[in-house]
């Protein structure tokens, strides 16, 4: 009888909803790629930029996109979610474009980027990550449009 039940005034989907549940795993994997892609690009640009400039600049770009996705998915507010949709979309286009480019013109890529051959060096995780990111954002947004929450 004293057991508290789910109160109706409790928001069904708090502002942090993109980082809970499956989002917890998503943010963890994004953080991992943010760290590894940007650290790798940093070392490559600092030590041997002239060896493969296109590949290293694209690695750095991927690193920035992963950082933006990590932060925005971790925050989860309305603006953050819109930015997250943009960065996940950009990431999907990037991995497809760079993946195709690296196969069509291997001479431009004497050293690999995170997105080379659709992310083969990272177990194709870079290819599936933006898809899961976009699906997750769509699900959270739909849940919120059914039960709107008061964002403080």
């Amino acid at each position: 009888m004293s057991e508290p039940t789910a109160s109706p005034e409790q928001p069904a989907s708090p502002p942090d909803s993109t980082r809970t549940g499956p989002g917890r795993l998503l943010v963890a994997v994004y953080a991992l790629f943010a760290l590894s892609a940007s650290a790798r690009a940093g070392v490559q640009i600092a030590t041997k930029f002239s060896h493969a400039p296109v590949a290293y600049v694209l690695s750095a770009l991927a690193g920035v996109v992963y950082i933006i996705a990590t932060v925005t998915l971790g925050r989860g507010g309305p603006t953050a979610r819109r930015i997250a949709v943009c960065s996940c979309s950009f990431e999907l286009v990037g991995v497809l474009a760079v993946g195709t480019w690296s196969i069509a013109d291997p001479a431009t890529f004497p050293d690999a980027t995170v997105w080379s051959t659709y992310g083969i060096g990272y177990g194709f995780v870079p290819l599936v990550l933006p898809v899961f990111g976009l699906l997750w954002l769509r699900r959270v947004n739909r849940r919120d449009s059914i039960q709107p929450t008061i964002v403080t």
Binding site: T20, P22, R24, L25, A28, A39, T47
Partner: protein, 121 residues
């Protein structure tokens, strides 16, 4: 592999990942045995990092020294970050974060010894 320590880390990391994924599959939250296993992984990773640093201090250097130092800094953070982020989650997705950490520890060992194949740990 290059020695007993990285081999042990790979086995422990993959076993931890398997156990954590099983917990996610059967809808279990983070628990003490999973945290203890993360602690064991952390200790093993610190041993590995210590031995590699000892090799560096001993005057040997690999070709990719900057990358190696990056790895040595990142490796001990993995289980700690997974424990912190996983404990914030009160659902089956906490152990899923730990599973990633176990896999990453195993992958980092393989890559670390590709960067510096000469050492035996």
């Amino acid at each position: 592999m290059n020695g007993a320590v990285p081999t042990t880390i790979i086995v422990v990391g993959l076993a931890l990942a398997g156990y954590a994924l099983l917990m996610t599959a059967i809808n279990h939250r983070m628990n003490v045995p999973l945290l203890a296993a993360l602690g064991v992984l952390e200790i093993l990773l610190l041993v590995e990092v210590g031995i590699v640093v000892a090799h560096l201090v001993g005057g040997h250097h690999p070709a990719g020294l900057a990358t190696l130092i990056g790895y040595l800094c990142a490796i001990p953070i993995v289980p700690v970050a997974a424990a912190f982020w996983g404990l914030l989650e009160r659902s089956r997705w906490g152990p899923a974060v730990v599973a990633v950490a176990g896999l990453v520890a195993a992958i980092l060992m393989v890559r670390l010894h590709q960067i510096w194949p000469a050492i035996h740990v």
